[in-house]
């Protein structure tokens, strides 16, 4: 199993600012995933982050808005840039395990005023 530490757990931000979310895993993993969970909606994959290469973004998400870093096999960051109230969501980091199992961090609840 993998233990994922994600921070901050929650934040309230002003419109136009940026927030960087950190994700730390207790073991080395090849792929890390960033999901968004909007109020009352399902989890949506933002991007897949591989160490040593550019992140792969899903349709509707772009690097300028959600830049991702993956400096090593245990750490990744997601930045939500130039925030607007529509960015208010829970952001979740996850990693894959054996048997196609995903492990999730506890999430970052972001509110944008």
């Amino acid at each position: 199993s993998a233990v994922i530490s994600q921070k901050p757990s929650r934040d309230i931000c002003q419109r136009g600012t940026s927030l960087t979310i950190q994700c730390q895993v207790d073991s080395q993993v090849t792929m890390m995933f960033w999901y968004r969970q909007q109020p009352g909606q399902s989890l949506t994959l933002i991007a897949t982050a591989n160490q040593g290469s550019e992140a792969t973004y899903e349709s509707g998400f772009v690097i300028d808005k959600f830049p991702i870093s993956r400096p090593n096999l245990t750490f990744s960051t997601l930045t939500v840039s130039n925030m607007s109230p529509e960015d208010s969501s829970i952001y979740l980091c996850s990693v894959g395990g054996q048997g196609k199992k995903l492990f999730f961090g506890s999430g970052t609840q972001l509110s944008v005023l």
């Binding site: 989890l43 949506t44 999730f104 506890s106």
Partner: protein, 115 residues
């Protein structure tokens, strides 16, 4: 493209009563199916998964689910619920591509246990 439908957004159930949370999926290829649970203020954790083999899958905390290919369903069941089962439950699907760990999630079902 895959999609997952959880028709029930909220399900209230009396304690010790049985429960079924419905999940239907659509996919043009073979799939892997999952149920995740999210307890209040916590991250998601895997309840159970179907990869292959027996269509009846048993998971943690007394939950089970049955894969029905003809009905494209993967409903979650528990014969007797407890207060501690109060949580959000997500059904998810992954296409049959070993190593592809991207999941498509349903919108979730909030299970509330009534004492």
């Amino acid at each position: 493209a895959q999609s997952v439908t959880q028709l029930d957004s909220q399900v209230p159930v009396f304690e010790e009563a049985p429960v079924e949370l419905r999940c239907n999926y659509s996919s043009s290829v073979s799939v892997y199916l999952f149920w995740y649970v999210q307890y209040p203020n916590q991250g998601l954790q895997l309840l159970l998964k179907y990869l292959s083999g027996s269509t009846l899958v048993k998971g943690i905390n007394g939950f089970e689910a049955e894969f029905n290919k003809s009905q494209t369903s993967f409903h979650l069941r528990k014969p007797s619920v407890h207060i501690s089962d109060t949580a959000e439950y997500f059904c998810a699907v992954s296409d049959d591509d070993f190593g592809n760990e991207k999941l498509t999630f349903g919108t979730g079902t909030r299970l509330t246990i009534i004492p």
